[in-house]
Symmetry: C2
Subunit: 218 residues, 2 copies
């Protein structure tokens, strides 16, 4: 129906895609052939009409009385997300968070591969961790060019995050996944996605308090 990415996909839809993908892959592994939006919705806790609308953006057509063909849907979701061929990424900052990211094996499913890590602490540079070598930050520019890496992950304390971002931008990085709680100042052609735990915790705290206050029996 839609020809590739002509029309932009709403961001809420994009955010839900990984959930669909995860479920769809599970089903495929289980040997199923078809999946309905009813079933997907039930599994991930959303109304089927939301799922149906979302899936329409993937470009695959469903089948009355059957649903969607898994073999078709999974690759389409990956493609929509840009996860169809893995993107190489650099990680900057090998503190506790950086180590957790390095140790997390699941990024392959998300079309990303951390190919090198960087830090300014001499005690750990030169070594490696979870199959990734750790280089001094000074080496980043030349390696970025040589390896043609376009994605950078910032996992450093907030007071150095901006300077790291500058280094990344100068090195030709086009996308930054920022785990430091600061607003980065970058050129408009560089995409920044900030991951901030406080946002999630804020919603949780609020809802928790709201729940305690409103549910006051009698």
């Amino acid at each position: 129906m839609n020809n590739d990415a002509m029309q932009p996909i709403p961001l809420p839809t994009i955010r839900r895609f990984p959930e669909y993908l995860r479920f769809v892959e599970d089903k495929r592994l289980a040997g199923e052939e078809w999946i309905s939006t009813t079933e997907i919705g039930a599994a991930i806790g959303r109304k089927s009409v939301v799922v149906r609308k979302d899936l329409s953006y993937s470009g695959v057509a469903g089948h009355p009385r059957r649903g969607f063909r898994l073999e078709e849907l999974a690759p389409a979701l990956r493609r929509s997300l840009g996860w169809d061929n893995a993107t190489d990424a650099f990680l900057v900052g090998v503190g506790s968070l950086g180590q957790a990211l390095l140790g997390y094996g699941g990024f392959a499913n998300y079309g990303m591969r951390i190919v090198a890590a960087f830090d300014c602490n001499d005690d750990i540079t030169g070594g490696s961790m979870a199959q990734s070598q750790i280089f001094p930050i000074q080496k980043l520019p030349q390696l970025a060019k040589r390896m043609n890496v376009k994605l950078g992950i910032i996992a450093v304390p907030q007071d150095v995050a901006q300077s790291v971002a500058n280094i990344l931008v100068d090195a030709g990085i086009r996308g930054i996944w920022n785990f430091a709680p600061v607003q980065l100042d970058v050129p408009s052609n560089v995409v920044v996605r900030r991951e901030d735990l406080s946002h999630g915790l804020a919603v949780l705290s609020y809802q928790l308090r709201e729940e305690c206050e409103t549910i006051r029996p009698e």
Copy 2:
């Protein structure tokens, strides 16, 4: 203007509150007395009208030509978020992610304190990490009751996340911060907030690809 939390605060607003709070605290530390929505907006990259609308939910009134009084705004934001008095929390799962969470010192600013950690690995239970003792998971119910803990953090692999959730719920936990990529099935009076890195990465990948495709200079 508003009397406490009579009217519900929109979730997008709640998500932005931590950013305002961070900036406001910085300014306060710097010895400032007033802050305008214009300045806040410029700092965190949003239009001033958004900030103004959001702040109206906090209950504090601004001052023409001056802005908002920092001494008043910071506590109000904390109160709105439910961050005014710290909530004790249990962490379950002391793998690499759990360790990163334990090691992260910033939760105090978010009104949360991890008072104990739990794991099923005998090698690490009994020890401690970042000032938190690590207990076997079996001890959780009795400790939850004794310490009156109402918030649980799930940082275990996804295949055991649901069973951990069940334990938490049975132990009287009212809110769960879930870092496992699964939809948890819990009673409706328990609030679950799922933290899923794939959502953020999805948006980043999509925007990155979109950028590359649309910005095609001639």
